[in-house]
């Protein structure tokens, strides 16, 4: 029994079968990568997991509860966080305010009318936010406007915002897309560090094989909307079917 179970999920867009009979079982505490060529249905699958898309058939169970038909904020409240391809942060707000919001959301739920309470009196929340910022080495940037951060820092901030909510499952959509090599390696280290320190389950969708093989404990290869193989990284590397479908010459 995994923390996330996807069974028999199908999704069509008009004539296109975006997902066909997808089954996925993500074990608790693992780092599970989903790879596949462009148009393999990776993003569609991710959107199903976060409630943005509802599949035509099939079930998605998170800790035994169905997430289908729930809104993104309800799914987040269950304990699933998502990191986007281009960091989605509150760019007009300061870094510190960015951190406060997930803290409040975690404590108060999807809506609370705390219009006359002052932030300064929320000692616990402030402490939590500061602690998290320190953990991602951004404490000195707390007063900066988020939009003025470097790309790498934006990514860090987004991660920190997800992690401070102590999610049970972290979904990452190409977390290193468009990054320089040095930034990519930093991100890999950060993710490994996060995984080691809090045993969080991660599902990563990624193009970059270097990233995948540095992080994943288990890999599912998706092709044309259907899982081709699921195995450990070492086995995937040498798998002939995968080579043929995806890795091609690069891995050979």
């Amino acid at each position: 029994m995994g923390i996330l179970e996807v069974s028999n999920v199908n999704k069509r867009f008009g004539g296109l079968q975006a997902l066909g009979n997808v089954n996925l079982d993500v074990a608790k505490g693992t780092v599970h990568a989903i790879i596949g060529p462009n148009g393999a249905g990776k993003s569609t699958l991710l959107n199903v997991l976060v409630g943005k898309l509802v599949p035509d058939t099939g079930t998605v169970l998170f800790n035994g509860t169905s997430v289908l038909g729930l809104k993104p904020f309800e799914i987040n409240q269950l304990g699933i966080s998502r990191v986007f391809q281009t960091p989605e942060i509150f760019s007009d707000l300061s870094v510190f305010e960015n951190m406060l919001i997930p803290c409040f959301a975690k404590r108060d739920g999807s809506f609370r009318m705390h219009a006359l309470e002052s932030i300064a009196s929320e000692k616990d929340i402030i402490e939590k936010a500061e602690h998290m910022l320190a953990e991602v080495n951004m404490a000195d940037k707390r007063h900066m406007t988020a939009s003025s951060l470097s790309r790498g820092d934006k990514r860090r901030l987004e991660m920190a915002m997800c992690l401070v909510q102590e999610p049970k499952l972290l979904l990452l959509d190409e977390p290193t897309a468009g990054m320089a090599r040095a930034d990519t390696n930093n991100t890999i280290d950060l993710l490994n560090q996060i995984h080691d320190s809090r045993e969080i389950t991660m599902v990563i969708i990624e193009h970059d094989m270097h990233v995948v093989f540095s992080l994943a404990k288990r890999i599912t290869v998706l092709a044309q909307g259907t899982p081709l193989v699921e195995d450990t990284p070492d086995n995937i590397k040498g798998h002939p079917k995968v080579k043929e479908a995806y890795l091609g010459e690069a891995a050979a």
Partner: protein, 401 residues
């Protein structure tokens, strides 16, 4: 103090002082001097500053924080006015029941309109609110005449029940016996200061609601509203539901508008449908943008600015212009008067339109940003400081979203 930081407390105290001293501060020129026409210490005008200040503060909670541009807030202004006059008609001239009713009714009305309009964002939201306000306006003029007295406007008649009216109770709006249109005139040297009950009533309410808006700005709720303006996607994926937040902001700003409308009727016991027309909604948008959307003081400044210049510019006429420029040679004097003529008196709206365009083009942050820029030039503050400030306050640039 009062749950505010030290800086905010000082800020609030300054605002309180300025508001209470307004009858003196706005009367800088002696009564008989040539510049006396620039004085603004008249009860009528000062009441407008306070009332439209309240209207703009409320509008700013919605537009400045969440970025949702409503073109229908005049509807709530109208509802507020009608509520107060109805309480005069049914009970007596005490303004309290009317103001309470105004806030409750406009809140309910805002809840209804907001619940529907907030299903859409951007310009669609603007058009929905505009449509609701225009519907209210048109209905107030036509079929709702029994409630609104149509074109004549709602007012108190002799045969109204006024069940709480007794011998000797005031026959004009009052607050437990403090009659609004009574004033104390104090002459000091050549100056005359008018301390009107009406103004102080509005001013104290304005201070209270300003304090509330300050609390909202600094609260977790305030941060959530600014987060909505910046990024609704992240909001959703952080486990927050933006809809109730925006709806709450909409209702709060509707209640502010209702209170402002109620106060208009508390100063002058009349309520007309034209208060609900879209031009009135446009006016509060102008005030907020002109002053600086998303800033605390901006909307109040904008409201004061527009109301002051409306009053002063529209009073200037050609003969006043001639007297100003009488030192010039005749031909030149006539020419200068000719050039200024379109901008004064009834042409005040032309000045307003131009001014407004200039602000949007060159000062997207409004007067507050202009003030900051000048301050930075004077004090020679460096860029870093400016960035720090940007981190503390929401960006004044506004957008429909």
């Amino acid at each position: 103090m009062l749950g505010l930081s030290k800086k905010d407390t000082t800020f609030l105290l300054v605002v309180i002082f300025l508001t209470l001293a307004t009858p003196i501060l706005l009367q800088p020129f002696p009564e008989n001097s040539a510049l006396a026409q620039f004085n603004a210490g008249y009860p009528d005008l000062m009441q407008r500053f306070a009332i439209f200040g309240i209207f703009a503060i409320g509008f700013n909670i919605l537009f400045g924080l969440t970025g949702y541009l409503s073109f229908g807030h005049a509807a709530f202004l109208g509802v507020g006015s009608y509520s107060v006059v109805w309480m005069y008609k049914l009970l007596n001239y005490n303004v309290l029941p009317g103001l309470v009713l105004a806030i409750v009714m406009s809140g309910l009305f805002a809840l209804f309109i907001g619940y529907i309009s907030l299903r859409r964002s951007g310009i669609y939201f603007s058009i929905l609110t505009l449509a609701f306000a225009q519907m209210s306006f048109n209905l107030a003029y036509s079929v709702l005449t029994p409630l609104t007295n149509g074109e004549t406007g709602l007012q108190v008649y002799n045969n109204d029940p006024q069940v709480l009216m007794s011998e000797g109770s005031p026959t004009s709006p009052h607050f437990f016996g403090i009659v609004m249109n009574e004033a104390t005139k104090v002459d000091v040297g050549g100056w005359q200061f008018t301390f009107s009950n009406g103004y102080y009533f509005c001013a104290i309410i304005a201070i209270i609601v300003f304090y509330l808006s300050l609390r909202i700005f600094r609260s977790p709720f305030g941060i959530m509203l600014r987060a909505i303006k910046t990024n609704q996607t992240r909001m959703n994926y952080t486990g927050l539901n933006p809809r109730p937040y925006t709806l709450a902001a909409f209702v709060i700003s509707g209640m502010y508008a209702g209170l402002a409308g109620g106060l208009l009727a508390a100063m002058d016991p009349l309520a007309g449908a034209e208060r609900m027309q879209w031009t009135a909604s446009g006016e509060v948008v102008l005030m907020t943008i002109l002053g600086g959307a998303g800033t605390l003081m901006g909307p109040v400044l904008g409201a004061g600015f527009i109301k002051y210049f409306e009053n002063i510019f529209s009073k200037i006429n050609d003969s006043i212009l001639h007297s100003w420029f009488s030192a010039l040679p005749d031909g030149l004097e006539d020419f200068v008067v000719f050039v200024f003529h379109p901008f004064i008196g009834k042409g005040w709206h032309l000045t307003l339109g131009l001014l407004f365009m200039l602000v949007v083009i060159f000062l997207p942050g409004g007067l507050i940003e202009g003030g900051n820029r000048i301050w930075n030039v004077i004090s020679g503050k460096n860029r870093k400081k400016k960035r720090d400030e940007a981190a503390h306050h929401p960006k004044p640039t506004s957008h429909v979203n």
